[in-house]
């Protein structure tokens, strides 16, 4: 019964995040109670330093189109892939199993529609969050005469051999979002990353609250690299600011559990001076817990999902929303066409990772869009907006 209970919980919570569930066996290193405890097993100092430096870098590329921009680009030659069009572009997708990927994929299809003259066929295969299916998918696509292959890997280590096999076929391979352990793809596209996200949120929360105040950190689940890096960076920022972390709790992305946890902490400590979250999904629930307890909502971070942005605007919260932008789904299509034209592309292609603050909040709040839509989709200029995303 226990085993069943635990595995059922795991199954049910498995789709809670928009980040890769790598098979890494990292255990939760976060201490509960006070203090931030020891650093996460996923922490890599060099990556952390690199990402923080990128936060201040000025992107190159067309203004107002962050999906075409790159941070500190190093260009690679692609002349050997030059071919006359129109092209058949194939996409092996890790899954469509959360709102982030749903919004992203709609954005990608719309991007394809803007190149209808040059892309004759766009083949999409959904691996439904399964490594084995994605390995088979990539293998199948290799026999389908694709001119370019886009891969959004489900997990890093397991998908690496499949991506390497695709590279050996000689067609240009483009990887985005989650990475692979090989340099054989022509380019790897993703935004700055988890350290940047966690750092921006933690700095904001610690600056906006009184010195030495009590912070509650809410995390989705342990052992997922993209989420671990967010927490690892936040830990450093909080320790530097001398903040009192009264709790680090896992919510499983469950709003009810989030509300209960926050409610418990409010009762236990009387006031909580700041809330840090590793993902925005349950930020609304955390805010509600303060409201229902009749307490002012402390400085908090969310993400660019519209339910949170609306709440932020309506309740005039002290808030910030770092993003993991869904506009990155446009870039692989643009990259594929450039590569097939023989144009140089950046590798790695690091996209800017904008933060929504009080100053630019109004640009992103759109009450007509659904609550789980991601505002940083860069999709407002695409065909079919807004109907396609509703």
């Amino acid at each position: 019964m226990t085993v069943l209970a635990v595995s059922a919980l795991l199954v049910l919570s498995g789709c809670a995040t928009d980040e890769p569930t790598t098979g890494a066996s990292g255990s939760p290193s976060a201490g509960t109670g006070s203090g931030t405890g020891e650093q996460s097993k996923f922490f890599v100092r060099a990556d952390y330093d690199k990402q923080l430096a990128l936060l201040d870098a000025t992107p190159t590329g067309p203004a107002g189109k962050p999906w075409e921009q790159a941070l500190n680009p190093e260009m690679v030659e692609t002349a050997k892939f030059k071919k006359p069009g129109p092209y058949k572009i194939c996409f092996s997708n890790a899954g469509l199993n959360n709102p982030w990927r749903q919004v992203g994929f709609k954005t990608m299809r719309a991007e394809v529609d803007t190149h209808r003259g040059r892309i004759s066929e766009f083949v999409h295969v959904d691996a439904e969050g399964k490594d084995q299916k994605q390995i088979a998918d990539i293998n199948d696509l290799l026999g389908k005469g694709c001119h370019a292959l886009i891969v959004s890997p489900n997990t890093t280590a397991t998908l690496t051999p499949a991506v390497e096999a695709a590279c050996r076929k000689g067609l240009p391979v483009i990887v985005f979002d989650r990475g692979v352990d090989t340099t054989c793809p022509v380019t790897f596209i993703n935004p700055i990353g988890g350290y940047g996200f966690g750092h921006v949120a933690a700095e904001f929360v610690s600056q906006k609250m009184k010195a030495g105040g009590k912070v509650l950190a809410l995390r989705i689940l342990p052992g997922v690299d993209a989420l671990e890096t967010r927490w690892a960076a936040a830990k450093i920022a909080f320790d530097k600011a001398g903040v009192d972390i009264v709790g680090v709790e896992f919510t499983d992305g469950d709003p009810a559990r989030t509300k209960k946890i926050v409610n418990d902490y409010i009762q236990r400590y009387g006031t909580i001076d700041g809330v840090w979250m590793d993902a925005g999904a349950v930020a609304g629930a955390a805010v509600e817990a303060f409201e229902d307890a009749g307490k002012p909502v402390p400085p908090i971070n969310g993400e660019d999902q519209l339910d949170f942005l609306k709440l932020w605007k309506d309740k005039k919260l002290t808030a910030i929303a770092p993003t993991y932008p869904t506009y990155q789904w446009r870039t692989p299509i643009i990259a594929a066409l450039k590569i097939l034209d023989g144009e140089q592309v950046p590798n790695p292609w690091k996209l800017p990772q904008p933060t929504i603050t009080r100053d630019n909040l109004d640009e992103y709040v759109d009450p007509t869009m659904p609550p789980l839509h991601y505002a940083m989709c860069g999709c407002t200029d695409l065909p079919g907006y807004p109907r396609r995303w509703k």
């Binding site: 019964m1 226990t2 085993v3 069943l4 209970a5 635990v6 059922a8 919980l9 199954v11 049910l12 919570s13 789709c15 809670a16 939760p28 509960t32 109670g33 899954g95 469509l96 199993n97 959360n98 709102p99 990927r101 749903q102 709790e249 896992f250 499983d252 992305g253 469950d254 709003p255 009810a256 559990r257 989030t258 509300k259 209960k260 946890i261 409610n263 418990d264 009762q267 236990r268 349950v282 609304g284 629930a285 509600e288 229902d292 307890a293 339910d307 659904p370 609550p371 789980l372």
Partner: protein, 323 residues
């Protein structure tokens, strides 16, 4: 079957309420030692309000367990109901009532399927309801493309989130608590009725019950329907409390079973009381709150639930011969 006698509450007869009351009292003492104002009205009311869904599910689970079966589908039914409600209401305040009726009908249908498959097709309820659990999880997933759509209206959420405000002494009474008290009263009446006694007889010894003219399949099917209705009510409260999410009902079936077992309801049927099951749920929630206040990681919850089930079942079988 015995006639209830007044002092029964205080004896340690198996299935009696004394053990769970003692455990609850000890936990409350520990909790107030750590957090003196836990029992102050505002904090207590908020605790009772947010515990209401689990207590409801435990009451529903009581009917199924006492009849000798098990209902593993309630958690996924809660999730399904919340996701369905969000998609159908989609922020429209006037859609609340018709959707609530629809949810009730859906709940009853799920209970009927669980009950009829278990009784008429003779599939063990463990398997039937596990199957229902998977069907509901998969169907909801498919129907919503992996991400809940729409949203619940403020009106629909009021039942789970709001309260009677500015009352003397208590301050505020959550609507959820009122719903719970009404449901608890109804459950108590049901257990005292012929149906309630029949159900215990069916769980205690189905063969004897059958031979004495009880339609076992009907009693058991009713029990599953009651459990599903309780889950529907819980879904309305949970959806109200925290809004739409795929996680809404995650793990609740085990919470409900643990609560019932903790409250002295014997797995396998025939013994226990609905009040015990509901007190079990409150005790479990108190325990989790206590764990939080003492800084124990929330990740230990499933482990604690599992341990309780094992211990309670072991304890029950230990005292079985003295019945």
């Amino acid at each position: 079957m015995r006639i209830a006698r007044p002092p029964r509450l205080l004896t340690f007869r198996s299935g009696g309420l004394a053990p769970i009351l003692v455990i609850l009292a000890v936990l409350l003492i520990l909790l107030t030692a750590r957090q003196p104002d836990f029992l102050s009205p505002p904090s207590l009311m908020s605790f009772l309000g947010r515990s209401a869904p689990v207590v409801l599910l435990a009451a529903g689970q009581y009917f199924v367990i006492v009849s000798g079966e098990l209902d593993l589908s309630v958690g996924s039914l809660v999730t399904a109901q919340v996701v369905i409600a969000a998609r159908l209401i989609d922020g429209d305040p006037s859609a609340g009532r018709p959707v609530a009726v629809l949810l009730l009908a859906f709940g009853i249908a799920v209970g009927l399927v669980n009950g009829l498959v278990t009784t008429l097709l003779r599939v063990p309820s463990f398997i039937t309801t596990l199957g229902m659990f998977l069907i509901l999880v998969g169907a909801v997933y498919l129907w919503s493309d992996g991400a809940p759509k729409g949203g619940l209206s403020e009106e629909f959420r009021r039942l789970g989130r709001s309260a009677f405000e500015d009352l003397p002494v208590l301050g505020r009474i959550p609507y959820a608590l009122v719903v719970l008290l009404a449901a608890a009263a109804a459950a108590l009446v049901l257990t005292r009725s012929d149906f309630g006694r029949t159900l215990v007889a069916v769980g205690g010894n189905p063969r004897t019950a059958e031979l004495s003219g009880v339609r076992v399949w009907r009693a058991k099917t009713m029990a599953f329907v009651l459990s599903s209705v309780a889950a529907t009510l819980a879904a309305v409260l949970i959806g109200g409390y925290s809004g739409v999410s795929f996680q809404a009902g995650a793990g609740l079936e085990f919470g409900a079973i643990t609560a019932a077992v903790l409250g002295g309801v014997a797995l396998g049927g025939g013994r226990g009381s609905v009040v015990g099951a509901m007190l079990g749920a409150l005790t479990l929630e108190t325990l989790f709150t206590l764990m939080n206040f003492y800084g124990v990681s929330g990740a230990l919850r499933p482990t604690v639930q599992g341990a309780i089930i094992l211990l309670a079942v072991a304890a029950a079988s230990f005292r079985l011969p003295s019945r």
